[in-house]
């Protein structure tokens, strides 16, 4: 405990550095996955291509990917951009599939009704399909957020500053408290981000909240964040 109390500034700067790597990667993978997932949902061939590609990408171990990217992109191995690209790729591997599945799950009756009312292709996606897919999209984004936060720490062995560096430093200097602090902060950060995304998802779907006056049943929210499908968990 004394080590932790004496090193609070170090812990907070590592936490911020961690967020500096994780947040851009999470945001980028969600934003990029939306159009890619839509393409996968819309065209059969592209779905096969994207699912195969992201599946292979997901099979690539993280540490080797951190080492490989500099040779392909010309980044430095300890550059933040290098780590962010690697993490975004993993995020995409998870999220593209989630987006495609979420769009698939929108009832065709609803999209047909919207088309009949004169919604163009873009308006259909933005105003009908995406809003209805929000619960499934949030579930996917939560999985991406939690696994990204944990994955960032791997970059610590290469010397990139994040909470992962606490493990490296604590191990080399034999400070148990430093490693424990890093573990607790990483897990806590993941849980906080997970909860925030869940709240955001709920705020974005006011129609899903149970309304006592009309007694509408709240739409079922998939629990994929808590229950990974076999064969996809990492």
């Amino acid at each position: 405990m004394t080590w932790i109390l004496a090193n609070l500034p170090l812990l907070s700067s590592r936490l911020l550095e961690h967020l500096g790597l994780a947040l851009p990667a999470i945001v980028l993978s969600v934003v990029l996955a939306l159009p890619l997932g839509w393409i996968a949902h819309r065209y059969r061939v592209s779905r096969w291509v994207l699912v195969t590609l992201t599946g292979l990408l997901y099979a690539i171990p993280s540490l080797p990917l951190f080492v490989l990217l500099p040779a392909l992109l010309g980044t430095g191995i300890r550059d933040a951009s290098n780590a962010i690209v690697a993490l975004t790729l993993y995020g995409l591997a998870l999220m593209v599939r989630s987006v495609a599945d979420a769009l698939d799950a929108v009832p065709p009756l609803v999209t047909d009704a919207a088309k009949a009312q004169g919604y163009g292709p873009l308006a259909l996606v933005l105003k009908v399909q995406l809003p209805l897919a929000v619960p499934a999209l949030t579930a996917g984004a939560r999985v991406v957020a939690v696994s990204t936060i944990s994955l960032v720490t791997v970059s610590g062995v290469l010397g990139l500053p994040s909470l992962g560096l606490l493990f490296v430093d604590g191990f080399q200097r034999g400070i148990t408290e430093e490693i424990v602090a890093g573990l607790v902060l990483t897990v806590a950060l993941a849980l906080v981000l997970d909860a925030l995304l869940a709240l955001l998802g709920r705020a974005m779907t006011p129609w899903n909240r149970a309304d006592p006056t009309t007694r509408r049943r709240a739409a079922h929210t998939p629990r994929t964040a808590a229950a990974p499908r076999a064969g996809e968990a990492r």
Partner: protein, 218 residues
């Protein structure tokens, strides 16, 4: 691209491969760690998953475990255990087993649970005991999902074995950390390519096994 050429030369260099410290031995070691850890985890975990899937008891606990495990950074776990248990095999093996448990548990449990209730009821009506229902009906029907769980467990473990070398064990991580220390990027890159190849080969093989397991059911 120059770097890739250097890495390629390192991989093709005849001195890279032989000997107990060579790439050949380290690759086999990496593979052996992976297979043994997943097997050990499966022997303990899969029967529990089957039991949970059959009885429905402890379902929430299983879902919770597989969700929470995602948040635990394996580097933190392995360094913490290595400080307590010392350098060598125990720390990475325990970490890897912990890592392999959630996907195996989820695969075993979801496979059994996904067996159509009509089929299970029919088996029960024909006088099968609960044990027979589990082992002869639900488990064979859930083989595809179980293989999916095995596949993701192997993927995670083969990636994380890299960290074993960080706390003084073997595997392909040896070359990666040696290259990092001596600033030999060709060695780091070559090892990385080797590891990626190993992971992809394993994944493709298990994808094939998964497909076979599914086809047998139909």
């Amino acid at each position: 691209m120059n770097y890739l050429v250097d890495a390629w030369h390192w991989l093709l260099d005849p001195t890279t491969w032989p000997g107990p410290d060579g790439l050949g031995a380290r690759t086999l070691e990496h593979l052996a760690y992976t297979v043994l850890v997943v097997l050990a985890a499966a022997i303990v975990t899969v029967p529990i998953g089957w039991w949970v899937g059959h009885t429905g008891r402890g379902r929430n606990a299983v879902v919770l475990i597989s969700g929470a495990a995602r948040a635990i950074p394996s580097l933190g776990l392995v360094t913490l255990l290595a400080l307590w248990l010392g350098l060598g095999l125990p720390a990475p093996v325990i970490t890897l087993v912990i890592l392999a448990i959630p996907p195996l548990l989820a695969g075993a449990y979801s496979g059994v649970e996904a067996a159509p209730p009509q089929v299970v009821d029919a088996a029960r009506a024909q006088g099968m005991t609960e044990r027979q229902i589990l082992l002869r009906v639900e488990v064979p029907l859930g083989l595809g999902l179980l293989m999916g769980g095995v596949r993701s467990a192997v993927l995670q473990v083969v990636a994380t074995v890299m960290l074993a070398a960080y706390v003084g064990s073997g595997g392909l991580g040896r070359f990666l950390f040696l290259g990092l220390k001596t600033q030999d990027y060709a060695m780091m890159l070559g090892t990385s390519l080797m590891t990626v190849a190993l992971a992809l080969v394993l994944d493709l093989a298990l994808a094939g096994a998964q497909r076979l397991a599914r086809r047998r059911v139909r």
